[in-house]
């Protein structure tokens, strides 16, 4: 705990300050926008449909790879802390990890996972 209470206070204070700046401007000079003023900008012609859609990401394979990589990272934090004390065991472990990560990366690369599907 300790210092993280301070961090939480700072977090909230910054967010509140930003929200207040935004809120103040609407309170000082309230404006109601007309329908044409609210049309999203795409160069002058109002859009036919809502922009929100079943958005086709082209990098979904890479996103899945990230999920697994992210988890591997979690193991590396405690490992880094005890690395010096554990010495050669830790080094071997790390080699295994790097190998795993490289194999996963190379496989995905070969499967064209880093290009737009």
């Amino acid at each position: 705990m300790g210092g993280l209470g301070g961090a939480l206070v700072v977090l909230l204070a910054a967010a509140v300050a930003a929200l207040v700046a935004r809120w103040l401007s609407t309170v000082l000079e309230p404006t109601t926008l007309t329908v044409p003023e609210r049309v999203p900008f795409a160069g002058g012609v109002p859009p036919e449909v809502h922009a929100w859609n079943r958005y086709h990401i082209r990098y979904y394979v890479m996103a899945l790879l990230f999920l697994a990589f992210d988890m591997e990272m979690v193991f590396m934090y405690p490992w880094a802390v005890v690395f010096v004390k554990e010495g050669i065991v830790a080094l071997v472990e790390m080699l295994m990890f790097i190998l795993i990560l490289v194999v996963g990366m190379v496989y995905t690369w070969r499967e064209r996972g880093f290009t737009w599907a």
Binding site: L64, L67, A68, D70, M71, V74, F75
Partner: protein, 100 residues
Amino acid sequence: MIEVILLISAAIFGVGVYGALSQQSFVMIMMGLELMINATVLAIVAFWWGTTGGDPRGQLLVVVVLAVMAIEAAMGFALVTAVYRVRKADITEKLKRLRN
């Protein structure tokens, strides 16, 4: 204190059970599962903190649970993608009906 935390964990777990059972979409079902895992993590840490005298295996269990969650999520999304590619649907009932 540990009772309070376990109550919170039970409540999150209940919400997760509700979500996993009631939702029709694959991905929403996965959200229910993740909530249950969330509750599990909380409960494990509560036990670790209150009853084990700081046995590191408690923490290890949390990390393993997180790994399970990552595996579940990655495979779940991969399957949803593969299924959608063939069936053009992501709803459980639609799939049952589409099965020949």
